[in-house]
């Protein structure tokens, strides 16, 4: 299975994950400071800055895109409960 490397900058932990993993599945386990509310892509609590490697995440759904827009999310920000890892190296931190 293709693997990806996700680094949670705020806790200094890098995790090797299988492609298809959502950021939420890993961030909680390593105790990163990304926090969750609805877990369904609506509340924007889990807004996360993609420091590098944003191209290695599956593009946002229509809903995620809308929520990001409504909340005036800056460029290269994603919802950690939605964003799915495709491969390569990705560095993230709480927005």
């Amino acid at each position: 299975m293709p693997k990806a490397k996700v680094t949670f900058q705020d806790v200094g932990v890098t995790v090797t994950v299988p492609a298809g993993t959502r950021l939420i599945e890993v961030s909680e386990k390593v105790g990163a400071g990304i926090t969750y509310g609805c877990r369904e892509g609506e509340c924007c609590t889990c807004l996360t800055r993609i420091v590098s490697g944003h191209e290695h995440l599956a593009p946002p759904s229509v809903l995620e895109d809308q929520v990001l827009k409504d909340n005036l999310a800056p460029r290269h920000h994603r919802l950690a409960c939605q964003a799915q890892v495709l491969g390569g190296e990705i560095v993230v931190k709480p927005a």
């Binding site: 806790v11 200094g12 995790v15 090797t16 599945e25 909680e28 390593v30 105790g31 400071g33 909340n71």
Partner: protein, 420 residues
Amino acid sequence: MPGLVSPDGALELAPGVHWIGALDPTLRSFDIILKTANGTSYNAYCVRGSAGVAVIDTVKESFGDTFFRRLESVADYGEIRAIVLNHLEPDHSGALPELLRRAPGARLYISSRGQMMLKGLLHGDRLAFTPVQTGDGIDLGDRHLRFLKTPYLHWPDTQCTWLEEEGFLFSGDVFGCHFCDARMFNDAVGDFRFSFEYYYAHIMRPFRAHVLEALELIEPLPLKLIAPAHGPILRDAPGRYVARYRELSASGLKNEAADEKTLLVFYLSAYGNTRAMAEAVATGAEAAGGVRVSLYDIEGGEVSPFVDLIEEADGLVFGSPTINGDAVKPVWDLLSSLTAVNVRGKLGAAFGSYGWSGEAVPMVENRLRGLKLRVPMPGVRARLIPTGAELDECRELGRNLALHLTGRMAATTIDMAALA
């Protein structure tokens, strides 16, 4: 000096600008968490411009009749062009569905963050609305309304509405309080200062960072009057209330270690086992340097000053023995009081002595995660009297917390499969 508000009449704030809200003098507790010794008011307002009328906020649903009578005394439903909701909580949106039915020609304006909540309130009843941001406005001809987005004061959707020509700020929950007095204006009502501060402490304080952002938008305004959604209308020296918010959202005593990271170690101990662990955690952190470490026995303090300390700290460690399969109550009392402040993103950890099952540490860790702290280091547990090796683990925990706080933690790489 104005008289009392009449039972059905509107109260004039300026020609064509009226209070049309409702008084609720018998209410004693609000949203479960707030008390009030004399009720509250749901303040709604009506602004007439040469090109139409705007209604700002409504009231709790059960007070709709009074609100509509007051509204009808100053405007016809056909004249209403705009309905502005500064905040969608039911105490202000309760009469909205009925108002939308009575004024079908009106356009609804809410902050862009309120869209999902509106769906949850109206259930598709009528969802035509304009989402607005700071800087957007409504042209009422000779009068103009402009929006200031003030998220989290009190909900994510909250905003203030500024009436340019008059210098009036319709501020929603901001600068409000639960105080009911038919004399309505701050220079005419009874002493409501404690209510103002109490309201700030419970509603605004958890969002101190957002208060500071909102003040950046509000302080430059040439304010003549603040018209909040609850309590007295602030026409006498409104700037004083803005300044008070500024003071309340700053720290109290100067922090001598302001540029140092701070780590607080809290514990409780019946036989001294958890205390020994706490001392080891503190020693380890201290030895790592660069961090101001403080050690507190929860038994010797009260919740509220501890909450003040925690609000300003960078890292928090909690030690609790396991008693009857749980952490001890004073720990939970403290942890359950942290909703009053913002602890999101602080560094957290737990430790404790136990006899046979040791539930306290994982339970506290879960609570810390629930409070949105970062909990990257697994806690330390010791069976009964901690061994030298267990105390070393505690020192290591303290050291790692200090390294984390000062950005000196070595990066680690792990496989997801290793993360149970």
